[in-house]
Amino acid sequence: MSGQRNKFEFATIALFVGIILFAFGTFWQAVAPWLSLKEIPVKTFEDIAENIPPEFEMLKEDYPNEFNNAFPNMGMKEAFIEALQTAKKSYIAEACWHCHSQFVRPVSKEELRFGKVSYPSEYATLMQLPQLLGTRRVGPDLIRESGVHSNDWHIAHFKDTSGVVPDSVMPSYTWFYDDNGKPNKRGLSMVAYMQWLGSWEKGNMYQLARK
């Protein structure tokens, strides 16, 4: 008899703890936000490339050979898509997101420092799959990065960070450059990505106190 009772006790523990409580927490924290937000259409790379930031075309003008090597026989649109995909890979591989966040909070005067407070629909893109919101800032937030610095600044900065920003603790990424010191595919792509992040909100930026 008591054996039966305890078997039942075991089953109860496994069932309630393993499934129901876990399911409730997971529903509230993970599934419910997803249900709330799933009406927002997700932008594909094609959609993103409808609006190419002018800095990308400037990259092509300034580095024609490197650009053609990186994106051979591609129209601007295909090249931009290729650049964003390459940059996303590098951004994740180098774990940029461990030191740079990608959302502006509505508190602590962040709106003054970075620009418009982040809202859910701007994350509904395939560039945020997986999401790159980040949980730590050693360097500044990047979601309003577009246009804050020039292409040349980024190209110099990735190559020699503390040479451009004294006392910077960001590593230099020499492998974003070819043997001649010009940006390679990864370098061009990362610059394109930086100039894309927040390009949809450029008109609303305060851009105060960044330098």
Partner: protein
Amino acid sequence: MSQERSDLINYNLVYAHCMASVIYLGIVFIVGVLYSLQFIGHYPLGGIEIFSPGRLRMLHTNGAVYAFIVNGFTAALHWAVPRLTGHKVFGGKPIGWFSFWALQGAILATVVGLLAGHAQAIEWGETPIYVDPFVVVWLLLTLVVFVTPIYKYASQKALYAANWYLIAGFVWVPMVYIMGNYIPQFFVPGVAGAAITGTWIHDAVGLYVTPIGWGLMYYFVPVLLRKPVWSHALSLLGFWGLAFFYPLQGVHHYLWSPIPMYAQYAAVFSTVVLELAVVSVIVNFLMTLRGNAEALKHSMPTRWLFIGIINYAITCLQCAFQVLLTTQKVIHFTDWVVGHAHLIMFGTFGFWILGFISYLWPKVRGVETSYSRALDEWAFWLIMIGMELMWVDLISAGLVQGFNWWGLNPWMESVRYSIPFWFVRTLSGLLMTAGYFAYAYNFFMTGKKAPVGSYQPQASGGAA
């Protein structure tokens, strides 16, 4: 007679997992110190792609959890579960060793993958996508190996609290691992993906490390002190508190983000309330110690466990405050969080594992005591002082950074003001690393002291 040998326990597996855990801990320490050098401008491997500091950081965090903590826990589980249940773990030698090598293989593949740039952008899940299926298989195997003896026991007698925690942890972790590593990676982009990722980040800590850690503590504390835990009722309160409130707090990693506020409020609320469950566990262990505090002087394992508990009390009290939306305005994104994470993952669970290993290792090697009492003390004090120094240093740095940002100082000011703190962090890391070497030297010499014939790892076991 140094101790009784039990047929229930596979000593070689305990041996191998202890060994792996201690070796990986050394690598984690060295990588952590190397990474910290980047922040004070002395990173020695700069300009080498595969040793880029960003990649090393992932090695440090993933190594700490999946190599050091998982191996340490598994060693202790291979010891504790047979003792708790009176049954051998499922699968015997073949499954045990397959599981051991599968884990080490997954760790090796992760190291190579992270350095080669195949990381996943999921915090605590940077393990490359191609390694994840093997980890899931390993987790399911572990579930079967350890829950089978508990099930056999449960069919005869009522379960002790330690077993509840272990069952819950083993059942939860494969589910959350699959959820956290696949859904935000392939199916749900953007803000909802962040909510799921946050849930996974916290589940990794709360639904694997915490229940397994607490479960093992409910075995080791009474065994070390040779008396039952103070209150069985409190241990159950802690269990249900953990089960109810832990899965509900993932989004507290993304407070003030565009994630819907109802999820954020629930996360804040449950994080504060969880403090009650944690306090019940801490009180339970401390009251068990009551009257036996002398043991802290004489028994190294007891000391590791209880200083871990003190750190746990500190870090969880901190948790209940730092999660408030007001506090978050300052400390989110800063080194405060890094300090908190170190105190919980190493200061608490790491200390517990060092305690478990200090207890298990002489028994596994068939000797009475460790090689050197003096080295025991050196290891403890260096690691303990280093740990507390790092915590105080990083939470201070966090406040400096947070108020600099809020005050709209130029960004680089917050970095310049942080550099002295980062020097102290490197120093505290070096202290802990020195303590580690004392621990590791002691660890390896303990085996050598074994009298001839008292214990021989079986050749067929393939112990490393």
